[in-house]
Symmetry: C2
Subunit: 280 residues, 2 copies
């Protein structure tokens, strides 16, 4: 027996497409419905040939027992009420958005079977064309239950994420948003600021350092605007701390204080080296 | 006939080791002398088996017709006078340091055959153990002549860099330092600051974004302290501009101004996407 009989995926980008591919490969769903408002995306999804139905009409999700919002946070918030009208109370609903407090608060009010989640997988390369059934393999899939979360829905979402190859970890929506403001949202804010600062005429004189450091600045602007704005206070707090640390390095350079500068850089280096040896 | 009869490489790290390997592979040198003060490095260099002599005694460079300082900028400045005592006026001398104005000013006073250079290759992984004969293949090798530079020395260094697989580009030491303050030194300052800002307990909850954005923060602290301090004014200027751009993103988030935020992020994204399609 399949884990779900009818899985509906709303949003067919990198994450939605990869979930669909992984569902198919791991025989998780009886049938898979893909929803996108873009005609070109629907055409691409049809080509892959794994969907039982692809449609621009969100009412086609009717009858599903798992619905996944694989849309940007802002879109998920806008679509939720329309989805509610067509799905049953028993349907398990999740999302894969990068911020959780705002989304969970709204969606658990609408859907009795809602469990927030956030797979820590992805890339600056968006679109179903870059989707892969192995995207979640070995990665961390954060699940964010609350006191109101249905226990069966929680268990099934955790099992679902494991069947996709990820390891599931539970934390509260609030803690998720604090942690991710540092480990994901801040690096994006820094990368966007950094590439903005480099004059265009100097770009040809760059090596791997600038490329790596700004790689995530190639991410979608609207998606990231919504992430920053739905995790506003945490992101502002993280940026303030970054500003303090930039000011400390700047001050050591301005004062020609090699001792302090080496101490700051050495501490940063040790932390970065440790990052490579850690796993969630 | 070989391009040089005796090449001395002072400093046997990633760059020095890679130059030695590339010299051997491309039959550029009659013999190669490697100098390092570290016993473990000398032992590693011996194991590679491409040096005709490895030594901790800098006087062994005597008789070379090309000498390369492959040491950190600070070390190059400290060693220059001692090297001068043992090599001939005709010897061609270069360095591979990441800042050029301070080094070129001092070394062209000491060595009649000096030409500054800076191969835009490297990695956060240091040490001769990571050296590779192909490190410079297809990369940009910046050469920084001045009005005082000997023409034959300049031609031979440019030819040398091409024989190592790089493409040589000439700019002034001053322009080099301005450009690199944006394309290399600023990304490093940002990465060091960023990893410093992320609380250790949150590090396990990170994905590719934080890893890429802070990869260069695993670089050597002393090396980077000297780079920042020998390019102080340019680095301070670049950091100030970064601070302004961080403040702009922060302000748009604080004001909940989605329109301005998307505009900033979109502009950054377009620039970053263009970076991938550019070549020096």
């Amino acid at each position: 027996m399949k884990l779900f009989s009818k899985v509906a995926i709303v949003g067919l980008g990198l994450i939605g497409g990869s979930i669909a591919l992984a569902c198919k490969k791991n025989k998780i769903a009886g049938s898979i419905i893909g929803i996108s408002r873009r005609k070109s995306t629907l055409a691409n999804a049809k080509k892959i040939g794994i969907f039982d139905c692809v449609s621009g009409d969100i009412r086609r999700v009717k009858g599903c027992d798992l619905l996944i919002f694989a849309t940007p946070v802002g879109t998920t918030l806008r679509l939720a009420a329309r989805v509610r009208r067509v799905i049953a109370d028993e349907c398990i609903v999740t999302d894969v958005g990068s911020t959780k407090e705002v989304v969970v608060a709204k969606l658990e009010n609408l859907f009795p079977g809602f469990v927030g989640s956030h797979p820590l997988a992805g890339s600056e390369k968006s679109g179903i064309g870059n989707a892969s059934s192995g995207l979640f393999k070995g990665s961390c899939w954060i699940v964010t239950p609350t006191a109101r979360t249905n226990r069966l829905a929680l268990d099934k979402i955790m099992l679902f994420s494991r069947r996709l190859g990820a390891h599931a970890r539970c934390i509260s929506p609030a803690l998720h948003d604090i942690i991710l403001s540092f480990t994901s949202h801040l690096p994006h804010a820094a990368a966007f600021s950094l590439i903005t600062t480099v004059p265009v005429r100097y770009l040809p004189w760059s090596a791997g350092g600038l490329r790596d450091t700004t790689r995530v600045a190639a991410s979608e602007a609207q998606l990231w605007a919504d992430i920053f704005l739905t995790n506003r206070n945490n992101v502002l707090g993280a940026i303030s701390l970054l500003q303090q640390n930039v000011a400390k390095i700047k001050s050591a350079i301005a004062k020609n204080d090699r001792g302090v500068l080496i101490k700051i850089l050495k501490h940063a280096k040790d932390k970065r080296v440790a990052l490579d040896s850690r796993k969630t």
